[in-house]
Structures are given as structure tokens and as C-alpha cells.
Amino acid sequence: MRGPDSANSFDDLEFYAGLGLQCGLEVHRQLATERKLFCACPVRPYSPLYDAEILRHMRPTLSELGEYDPTALMEFKTRKQIIYRLNRETVCTYEMDDAPPFGLNRDALERALVVAILLNLNLVDELHVARKQYLDGSIPTGFQRTCILGVGGRIAVNGRPVIVRQLGLEEEACREVSDVGHTRTFMTDRLSIPLIEVVTESQARTPAEAAEFARVIRRLCHLSGVVRTGLGTVRQDVNVSIHGGARVEIKGVPRIRQIPPLVHFEALRQKALLDLREVAKARGLGPDAFEAEVDVTPEVRRLDHPVLSQAVAEGGRARAVVLRRCAGLLAFPLGPTRTFASEVSDRVRVVACLDRLPNLVHTDDPSAGEACWREVRERAGACMEDAVVVVAGPRQDVTTAVEEVRIRMREALAGVPRETRRALPSGETAFERVLPGPDRMYPDTDLPPVVLHDEDFERARARAPAPLEDVEARWRGLGLSRAQMDALLFTDRFRLFDLALPRVRLRPTILAYLVTDYLTGLGRAGVEVGRADVDLFARLYGGERAITMSQQEAAARLREALTERTR
């Protein structure tokens, strides 16, 4: 297995071009509205406090074109009970799915249009609210209300044009509290906060470039002044594929710096899965190689396995699936800490809800005792060139688990399955669910289309700042470095910079330093920096004296003023 240093760095274009890496982003960002998207509930800081709970189940329904979505069918197999926690301050009957939507929040729409203009999109004239199915329970309706504002936009990333496929306006999902066995619990305070989704084409050629896409979108969103900032207000979904692989979506990455390792390891995982397919092909494996299955409850009882034997002791069953001529394949490495068995285990955990790990044992795992395997092999009629996977738990879950093992094996013969995956701390990913397709879309019959009038576009245009490239070109003209511009746009400090600039006589680079790094440092040191407003800067640096002031001197003056005022 090639480690992370098989590429010289995350921007090794030649290496990733060799893999045929293609990567795109879906950036989800909350809009800074006072109210939610389809009701009058206020947007408040998240809280674990709740007043009541409701219990729901989800069933798959047909798409508009008459098809079931594969993700929906997978989620149905999990037989999850979904618990929603309700806080009466932040949730009404709308979020509970006990009342139809009220009208679309016009402030949210106007804010989203500002971003649409900055993204240079082809804007639509009429919004059609769609229902996008989510059967994981993260939205009590079972779907997210969402609409498209525009398609075919353009942004520049390091001077290279990148296509923005579309901009959506949609409602936030719930926050997951826990997911144990067949019960998944959600907190609903975040539900239905207005969100924009910026989708780029898969034009990033290296992991570093993918992160750069995210940074440009972040700068642009901050510049727009219409979004919420801070952790928990933005999430990136990263789409990754390589030549011969498949689109895999890494869901909900909160920090941009996580993106490069995730993309890198995903690309390598796909490559490894393709290698695995070649091995399977060479052994002549077909989809019928995974049919044999046998009850091994007594054997597992004697196995003394911390999880499986426990499950049997609790009244569960154990079953072994024989994978003909698959010896060694389960140990096939897919990442620094993961093997192909990890993928199988993920499926069993997610779909069959056998979530005490390790939830399976297999013959490629040297840690399982050979004596016991002899019994299991014998009972299952498996020889040494076969692999055997054993799962244990409640009868129905085990039936599901066995089927999932087979499904994953068959997918391995095809190569890379289309999946949604979640980020792991190692930079690797784990299976979350089957990747949904367009069949999960359905028109929202509760809301009529919203016609966008010229006035709506004009109001948004009037509110939109100058394009990002123009703003950066102006700053560059003032002598600001790339790092300084990034720092200005890292939060909304750029406003202070632009407002203070005409009222001070400092060198712009010094002003940029003061409003970004220096103020941040003071804030970390416990100084109350909220008082550092335009007027203070004008008072401190408005005079002749500032023209020749050094950075050190200017900083000292600011520190003095802030600490003095605090006293």
C-alpha cells in the first residue's frame, strides 16, 4: 500500500493526473437570516436542551419519474426508529412535519441571490421547490425542501476558470445526537435554517486544488456579507473519482484543511479497489461465489470473541458466509489503517445496525484463533482457499448482515461502488450510504412556484459587493500579499479594513496586519477587541504622524488604546 508520501505533496499534478483524479465540491453555508426558511422560527445558537420527543419511521416513496432511489431503499433496510428532540423556542409544528410550509423566507432568497450574482450564474426566472429525499431521518419530513437559483456559473481559482454547476437554496437538516442499534436521535434546533449549496464541476485535479476551490468559495461567501460565519455554519461535501473508479461523495467536511488528505486517501482507496478487482478477476470470481452460508451459533459461542460471542450469549444467532476462493482478499489494504474487510464491516454496521465493533470476524484476520476457525470452516464446508466471514446478532439483523456481505463482495467484482462516505480522523473515510441519484427528487406540491421579478434581481444586485477578483485586484494594488488578503476574508474583518482605509494614513499593509493577525492575537490574549471599530482606527491613525508609523509602533498604539479602554 502506498502511503501518503507516494505523492510528493497534495499538489503533485503529475501523480494525480496518473490516477485520473477528478474532484468537485458542494459547499453548504448557512445564510445569516433571523428566521428559518419556511416558518417563523428564530435561528438561535445550538443547544442540547429539549422539551419533548417524537418518534418517526421513514418509508421510501417513488420519485417524480416513477423510480425508487437506491439510497432510500438502503435506509429502509436499516429499520431505524428516528427520535426527534424538540425545543419549544426553536421548533414549531412545521419542523415536526405536522404543518405544511409557510412561504419561502424572502430575506433568505435575497441573500442567496447576492451569492448567485457573485458566482456569475445563469439565473432562473421561477423557483420550483423540490423535495430531495433523505431517509436517514435527518429531516422529519423525509425530504429536504430545496430549489435551484441558477446554473452554469464561473469562479476563478488561481486564475483558472472553474464552473459552478448550480446554486441551491435549501433548508438545514437536524443535528445527530446518537445512532445506536436501530435508534437514531436528532436535535431539531438547526433544522430548516436557510442554507445555500454551491456545487462546482469536478475540475480539481489535485487534493490541494480541491481545498483551494473551497477557500475561494469561502472568500466569496464572506465577501457577500450574507452568510453566517463560524464553525458549524459551513460544511463541504467532496466528490472524488479516479479513472476507472466511481463518484464517491465525502459528506459534511467541516474544515477546509481536512480536504486534501481526504481526497488523497480516497483516490488511493479507489485505485486499490480497482487492483482488488483485478485480483478477483484473475481468480475467476463470479457473483455466485458468495452464496454458501451456514449457522455457526454454537461455534461462535465457544469462540470467546468479545463482540460476537457476547451477541450470541444475548440470544442472537451467528452465521458464516463462505466467499469461495477469496482467501486474502479481506486483508487487502485500502488505506493506512483500513483493509477491504473494513468496507464489509462498514456495510454491516450501517445497514444491519450491528454497531458493536468489531462486528465481524473473518479468516484473513490473524487475531482470530485458528482452532476455532477449523470448526467453522468444517461446518461451512470451506477450504483454505476460501474466506469466511462471521457475523452475529439478533436474527433479523444477521439476515440483513449476511446479505450486505454478499452485496459488498459483488460490488468488489465491479470495482468502486458509488457511495456517500464520512470522514475519519485518519484522513480516510468510511461507508455511510449508497450514493443517491436524481430519483430522489420530487416536486413540492405544498408550495407554488416562486416567480423572480426584475426587482428581485435588481435589489440583490444593489446589495452585492464588487466581484471577488476586483476586490482582490484593488487590495493587491495597495501592496497586500495573498496571505493578507486571505486573512482579511477569513472572517468579515475585511469590512473593517475597507471602512477604515480612507480614514487612516497608515500604510495599507500595516492596517491589514492590525485588523487581522494583530487583533486576532489580542483577542486570544483576552483583550476586548470588539471596541476596535472604524472610529477608533480613525482616532489613532488619522493624523500626519501615521504616515511614517512603523508596524510595531502602530500595533503598540492599538494595544494601548484597547487595554486602556478596557480598564
Partner: protein, 463 residues
């Protein structure tokens, strides 16, 4: 394909635009408007939407509207028609299982989208239902019969009589239970009138619907239908029942008497409540039917049922409000109405200015009954002079009959007789608990949110 189909739902400028570019619905197009380029499938237009936009389904599954007058160029790339269908699987039969007939009147149990109106069309055949709610096959052998396809507000005397007749015929033919799919808005009206029209049935007659249409993953339709089928197939409660969610959670259904039930919330799943009493039973997949009381009519093996399906629709409800003028009552009398149910204030009151109109009504032979708009509690017209005056005017107190139930019963009674004393006797003689002799202490419970003890209850028990 006819030209109409090709431009389905499009009118005015949008239609002209499509005609001009020679494209129609289900055509995959590349389109250039003044705002840019778009690629997608032209969808039919909802007839209630305006005539100035063309709807495209993008490759991502999203729909967007493009202003017809901004379209500069359209190029067709082929056709792709949606083949919308509900997966149909043959409903398995098992001679050991009870036979249940499901009548459809128009509620949505399983449904599909109607492009013309944007509304949902109910799916209904056993095969379609089995495809959507396979659990039904574990409970019963199901036969379905579509009687009507109307929203529940469009149910009326013709449909009530037709439904009652069909139910009686089906019972006589030997089924073990009846389920009636019905829109929820007037489900309690139909439940009440069926209680009078189909008396003393030997098997359960269970009305069911959904508050969230069945095209939503979170719909209550499937679980309600499972509860109703379970009740019809297995319970020993041979009455007209409404079977809908108890709490808003997917936990259990309640079986309400057809004459004591009312829809109490415009959209909540837990909208149906028994008023002035407790429900007959709980029903859940885990525990089956769990009676909450013993005084219900039991299932019998015979196939006798008393069908009495008549209705005089010259009846109205007057919902009294302060300041009401007598002409409201006069208008009904002059238009030939034969019966009036008043939903009065408090214990059953209206203002003095109405007295002459009520006297005129009595003289014209119109039967006037008093109910309470408080819904809970009895009419009691002796407590205040107003009440006594009204009784002197011929207004008959209808005890704790719910206003809608009194309306349905009066229409049914007037289908039999116009004799003053007989109408009065029939109205006040309970047939199916529409009047109860007593209101138990827990018959009136509207828990007040915000109270510490109620909040504690909510935190402990799932809503």
C-alpha cells in the same frame, strides 16, 4: 400524441413559445435565454401556475422555470417520457387469513403525482397497495373497490348512501371486516352518518386516511392503513370506527367511535380526538387492538346488518356568533330548509334578536336543535332564562351530540319522517353513542402546554 398532450398544461405565451420552437413536453432540450444557457427535460406545466414560464427538469433532478419571453433559442436533443407507476405486485392470498374489503372514496393511501394539477393521485389496486405497504399481506386477504375519487369535502348525501349500501352488501357477502379510505377533512361526518345508516353490523367498519400524503417518506398513511387493516381483520369491535394516529409519533393508532370523533387540528397527525369520552381502543403492530373500554358491540358470525340509507339534505348548521342577525335563520327557512342545527354559545344560547326568527322557523315546521360550539359538555337550557325562552320557541336541546353529528343525524332522521314528535324522539334516542348519558372525568382533556407538570409529561412520553 395529440397537440394538447405535447404541450400539456401550457397556455398563453409559454405555449406559443414552445410551439414557435417546435418542442413539447418530455423533450430533452438545450435552451438559451437572456439569462444564460440551460439543459433539461421540458415538463408539463401545472394548470394552476401562470402561463409565462417553461419548466425544465435539470439533469440533477431539480426543476426550474424559465421566462417564456426571455427564451432565444431551443434545440431538441431527443425525448424521454416519465413512466410513472407504482410498483405493482400480486397481493398474496392465504385462506387462513381474514378477508377484508377496502373501499376507496378518494383519500391518499398510496399515490402518484398528477402533472396536470400538481396534485397526487391515489394508488389503489391491491397490487399497488401491496407494492407500497407489503405488511398488509401479513394481516389479511385484501379486496379493493374504488367507489369514488373525490376530496373529502366533496363527499355528500349521494356518496354517503352509496357507501353505506356498498358496505352493507359487502358485509352480507361475508367479509370479516371493512376498511374505508377517506380524506380526513370530513371523515368524522361520514363516520357519523355511516353509524346511522349501517346499524348493528357484525364486523368492524374502519375509516382511515392520512394527514401527510403517502408520497412522503414520513407519511402516516402506511401505518394508519396497517392499523385499520389489523382492526378490520382481527378486532372484535363491530362498530363504525375512525382509525388514525393517537400521538404525532409513529407509535399507535386510536379507534374512535364514529359519532364521537372530530378532526381537531388542520394538519397534525394526531388530529382526531374522541370528544366528551375516551376512545374505544388503541391499536399497534406490536400489541394489536387493546380496548380501553368494554361497552362496545362485539363481532358476530352472522351476516345480518340493518341498512337504513336515507338522507334529507335540507338541513343546515348555524354557527352562532354575537351580533348575528335573524335574517340568517330566516334565509334558511325561506329557502325551504327542514332542519337547523344551532351551534350555540356556552350551554346552548343565541341572542334575543334571533327569537322572532326561531319562532317563524318553528311555525314553518322547521326542526331546530341546539348543540354547543364548545364541543365538550352538554347543552343545558334551564340554567339561564335565555335557554328556557329558546325551548319555548321550539328549540330542542341535543344533549352532548357534536354539532356535525347532530347535522348528519337530523338529515338522516328527516329522511324518515317529518312528524315533530317523531323527529324529536329519533334525534334524542342514541343509536351509536352520539348522545352519552354521562361524561367521564377524563372525557375532557386538552392539556395546557407550558404548565410544569404537562412539560414533564411531554419530556417523559413521546408526543
Amino acid at each position: 400524441m395529440s397537440g394538447d398532450d405535447r404541450l400539456k398544461g401550457y397556455r398563453g405565451p409559454a405555449r406559443e413559445t414552445l410551439e414557435r420552437f417546435g418542442v413539447g413536453v418530455w423533450e430533452d432540450v438545450w435552451l438559451r435565454s437572456r439569462k444564460g444557457e440551460f439543459r433539461g427535460l421540458i415538463l408539463p406545466r401545472n394548470e394552476t401556475a401562470d402561463d409565462r414560464h417553461v419548466v425544465l427538469k435539470l439533469e440533477t433532478g431539480y426543476n426550474v422555470g424559465i421566462a417564456a419571453d426571455s427564451i432565444l433559442e431551443v434545440v431538441s436533443k431527443g425525448r424521454r417520457e416519465a413512466h410513472y407507476h407504482i410498483p405493482e405486485r400480486e397481493f398474496p392470498t392465504d385462506p387462513a387469513k381474514p378477508r377484508v374489503t377496502l373501499f376507496g372514496t378518494g383519500g391518499t393511501i398510496a399515490s402518484r403525482l398528477d402533472y396536470r394539477t400538481g396534485a397526487v393521485i391515489p394508488a389503489f389496486s391491491p397490487g399497488e397497495l401491496y407494492g407500497s405497504v407489503p405488511e398488509l399481506a401479513d394481516l389479511c386477504n385484501l379486496r379493493t373497490e374504488k367507489l369514488y375519487a373525490v376530496f373529502s369535502e366533496n363527499m355528500g348525501p349521494e356518496q354517503w348512501i352509496g357507501l353505506a349500501t356498498a358496505v352493507a352488501r359487502e358485509i352480507e357477502s361475508g367479509v370479516d371486516g371493512i376498511v374505508i379510505g377517506h380524506g380526513t377533512d370530513t371523515m368524522h361526518h361520514t363516520a357519523a352518518v355511516l353509524s346511522f345508516m349501517v346499524q348493528d353490523p357484525p364486523v368492524p367498519i374502519v375509516m382511515v386516511g392520512s394527514q401527510r400524503s403517502s408520497d412522503r417518506p414520513s407519511s402516516d398513511a402506511a401505518l394508519n392503513l396497517i392499523h385499520a387493516a389489523l382492526t378490520a381483520a382481527r378486532s372484535d369491535i363491530a362498530e363504525v370506527l375512525v382509525c388514525m394516529f393517537g400521538p404525532t409519533s409513529d407509535r399507535y393508532g386510536l379507534l374512535h367511535r364514529g359519532t364521537r370523533v372530530r378532526k381537531m387540528h388542520s394538519s397534525s397527525r394526531s388530529t382526531f380526538r374522541t370528544i366528551g369520552d375516551i376512545p374505544v381502543a388503541l391499536v399497534s403492530r406490536e400489541e394489536g387492538v387493546r380496548p380501553l373500554r368494554r361497552d362496545y358491540r362485539r363481532r358476530r358470525d352472522d351476516r345480518r346488518v340493518r341498512l337504513d340509507a336515507v338522507f334529507d339534505d335540507r338541513v343546515g348548521i348555524v354557527y352562532y356568533y354575537p351580533g348575528m342577525k335573524p335574517d340568517v335563520v330566516d334565509a334558511l327557512v325561506e329557502r325551504g330548509y327542514r332542519g337547523i342545527v344551532i351551534a350555540g354559545t356556552g350551554l346552548g344560547h343565541v341572542n334575543k334578536p334571533l327569537y322572532p326568527a326561531l319562532r317563524r322557523a318553528a311555525r314553518a315546521g322547521v326542526h331546530v336543535f341546539m348543540t354547543v360550539q364548545t364541543l365538550w359538555g352538554y347543552v343545558q337550557m334551564y340554567v339561564y332564562d335565555t335557554g328556557r325562552d329558546l325551548m319555548d320557541l321550539g328549540v330542542v336541546p341535543a344533549a352532548n351530540m357534536l354539532p356535525e353529528v347532530a347535522y348528519m343525524k337530523l338529515g338522516w332522521v328527516l329522511g324518515h319522517t317529518e312528524d315533530r314528535d317523531e323527529v324529536r324522539r329519533l334525534m334524542l334516542t342514541p343509536i351509536a353513542h352520539e348522545i352519552t348519558p354521562r361524561e367521564p372525568p377524563d372525557g375532557y382533556l386538552v392539556l395546557q402546554g407550558g404548565l410544569p407538570e404537562v412539560e414533564r409529561f411531554l419530556k417523559k412520553h413521546r408526543m
